[in-house]
Symmetry: C2
Subunit: 102 residues, 2 copies
DNA sequence: CGTGTAAGGAATTCTGACACG
DNA sequence: CGTGTAAGGAATTCTGACACG
């Protein structure tokens, strides 16, 4: 169920190259609870491809002048929405939907 | 066309954790031309998830007592086979096959 | 608020080599 | 042949802080 996209194996230096962000920014966005890297045994941060994509989205928002607090709120909404979808799936409601459409 | 699996972003320490192999072994398999990590600007090795999977297969072969030279020969064969498949696809022969089966 | 930077330490990675077998 | 290890250096990453605004 967990794919490569969710596997936290990329160190911060590589994330910098991939996203164009500085280490400072990436750590700051963690401080502001926008990303949640894993930690290796020795304490170094490890990111997934999903994290990298999220950071690129955050970078775009920041360029538009959106503050980290607002970005966080948007992310929360998405989180809730996803939970909702998962609950519906669990209840079989979406499946029912699909059947009705057929 | 290139997916996350082919993206070389994992440093050797993480590959060790993922595969259970020592750095020495991983570097040696490179010396024997079994794996081809990329290099970061500063010269550190970077592996893809595909590389990690390949290394796990190599580890199994080695446990069976297969020598690196033989493993290399097997990998070469696979390489050639894949090239063959790609050529067939290019020529549309496989598509023809599929149509015939229908 | 968001980001840069210098600071000092700890951990990572690299290469070439010696060792054993 | 395949792998461990000690060696020395270079690059990475971490945290807490000061700075500017």
């Amino acid at each position: 169920m967990i794919s490569y996209k969710d596997n936290k194996v990329i160190s911060i230096g590589t994330v910098c190259e991939l996203t164009g962000l500085s280490e400072r920014k990436i750590r700051y966005y963690e401080e502001r609870k926008l990303v949640y890297p894993a930690r290796s045994k020795k304490g170094t941060r490890k990111y997934s491809f999903n994290d990298v994509e999220l950071l690129m989205k955050i970078a775009n928002k920041r360029e538009e002048g959106v503050q980290t607090y607002e970005i966080r709120q948007e992310l929360k909404k998405k989180h809730i929405q996803e939970k909702g979808i998962r609950n519906e799936l669990r209840k079989g409601q979406l499946n029912a939907h699909f059947h009705m459409k057929k």
